[in-house]
């Protein structure tokens, strides 16, 4: 229990250090962009397949139910609302936490146990800025972009099913899909993904940066990063949905 409390306290200090690091030079803009590209390119295929599949499944599962109540025409809108508000952000965040979170934790963990981070520290190279700040910012930037990409593919997945079931045109599908979509639907969802990015980035870098006990510790850090970031993304989602409902109704 005491160990857990210590970890939580250390994590809070780590977050504080991250916010202070935003004002410290060098800002490592190029490295942040490189990390963003790395995260994006690593996740593109997985996020794309997940988005497309979810859109198709959603269309297949709900079309017969809606047809029973004579509401088949509402299917594109229903898919769009479900995907944009909830399914796109959460699926993307979970895929990224598994794919990227584990990678970040393992990479930093292995740098810690092979003393590469110490080497940066003793040469006054500010490793926190170069290794931690850049990766958290990269997650924060990449998540909204990946989510928009996943949302688009999920909508396309839904269209593929509707095309085969009802031979609906792409124009009609999208005009119907965006009927109930407004800024109040899109903006909170995008903001939510940035928060998910921050959660994944901060937990993955924290577990990696403070890895101990050699290669066994590296594996443990990667595992803990995935478990904790997935868990906190889901818990944060509940709170953020509640907050969105309070703010926007």
């Amino acid at each position: 229990m005491r160990n857990w409390l210590e970890q939580i306290g250390q994590f809070m200090l780590f977050i504080g250090q991250f916010f202070r690091s935003l004002l410290r030079r060098p800002l490592d803009g190029l490295e942040t962009l490189r990390q963003t590209h790395e995260i994006g390119s690593k996740s593109l295929l997985l996020v794309g397949i997940s988005g497309l599949s979810i859109g198709m499944v959603l269309a297949m599962q709900t079309s017969s139910t809606l047809a029973r109540f004579g509401g088949r025409g509402l299917l594109p809108s229903m898919i769009a609302v479900a995907v944009l508000r909830e399914i796109g952000p959460i699926i993307t965040a979970l895929v990224v936490s598994g794919r990227v979170g584990a990678g970040i934790a393992a990479q930093l963990g292995s740098m810690r146990v092979t003393e590469q981070i110490d080497a940066m520290e003793v040469a006054a190279l500010y490793p926190f800025g170069y290794l931690v700040r850049t990766r958290i910012l990269a997650c924060l930037i990449a998540l909204p972009i990946l989510t928009i990409y996943a949302d688009f593919l999920a909508l396309m997945g839904g269209y593929v099913i509707m095309f085969f079931q009802q031979n609906i045109s792409l124009k009609l599908y999208f005009s119907s899909a965006i009927r109930f979509i407004d800024l109040q639907t899109v903006l909170p969802a995008v903001a939510k993904t940035a928060i998910f990015g921050f959660i994944i980035g901060s937990i993955a870098t924290f577990t990696g940066y403070y890895t101990r006990h050699g290669t066994r510790g590296v594996g443990q850090s990667a595992m803990i990063a995935v478990v904790l970031s997935s868990l906190f993304v889901i818990v944060a989602d509940v709170l953020l949905v509640k907050l969105t409902l309070i703010l926007f109704g």
Partner: protein
């Protein structure tokens, strides 16, 4: 100059340093000799602020390390080159990038000048052929040399070597020792070398400090150490003689 005075460090209930006191004069090379796990590396890490002593003072060129602000500590660290036991090269970067990273993070520099400095430093340690290779493509000896080149890249006044010859064959070990002697002659740097090899300590250092149970139990030139009556020093010398 490095002055270590009554430094204590413990990890939980395990006491590692128990009042270490040591002085290294400017331009001098001191080897710290001791058994594995005797706290030699912990002492080195305390010197550069990677670990904080529980008690005692460490002064480098008159500056009290534990009392420095983060910015002041960074300033001091720029004057110190640290050679890690396993080289600790950045494995995702080439040798050239390893050195360039240390240079460009501290100062902006024209690419030609940057390349020239890197080449010169690699040439100094005899590994210029490894310029575009990754650390994983290098032998243990070459990795150590690149580690030394990286430590030299900012022209430090002090170099700390953490077991620079451990894990190397006798011939490569001797080459690294020759390199350290050469660097001292050429650059006049102050060096502190952690080792558990008496022969190595004798060759490369002006004075030897023997660390035992967290304390310096003997300190002086090799002949002075050889005459020490401390039981551990006697045991150490006897073990070396048996090996020899």
């Amino acid at each position: 100059m490095i002055e270590i005075d009554q430094v204590y460090k413990a990890f939980g209930a395990q006491s590692v340093l128990n009042g270490v006191a040591l002085r290294v004069d400017a331009g001098e090379t001191v080897a710290i000799l001791g058994r594995s796990g005797s706290g030699k590396s912990v002492l080195l890490k305390c010197l550069v602020g990677l670990l904080r002593p529980d008690r005692g003072t460490i002064r480098i060129d008159g500056q009290e390390v534990t009392a420095l602000s983060a910015a002041q500590l960074d300033q001091l660290r720029r004057q110190i080159g640290y050679v890690f036991q396993n080289a600790a090269l950045y494995d995702s970067m080439t040798v050239e990038e390893n050195l360039a990273f240390h240079l460009t993070r501290h100062q902006s520099m024209a690419p030609d000048r940057l390349r020239q400095i890197i080449y010169e430093k690699l040439q100094t340690v005899g590994v210029e052929v490894a310029l575009h290779k990754y650390p994983s493509e290098l032998s243990g000896g070459m990795q150590k040399r690149v580690g030394i080149a990286r430590a030299l890249v900012l022209d430090p006044k002090i170099i700390l070597y953490d077991e620079p010859t451990s894990g190397l064959d006798p011939i490569t070990s001797r080459e690294i020792e020759d390199l350290m002697i050469e660097l001292k002659k050429r650059m006049g740097v102050t060096s502190l070398v952690i080792t558990h090899s008496l022969q190595s300590a004798r060759r490369i250092s002006d004075r030897i400090a023997v660390l035992y149970q967290g304390q310096i139990v003997a300190f002086g030139r090799f002949d002075e150490i050889a005459q020490s009556e401390h039981p551990f020093v006697q045991e150490y010398l006897a073990a070396v003689n048996l090996e020899g």
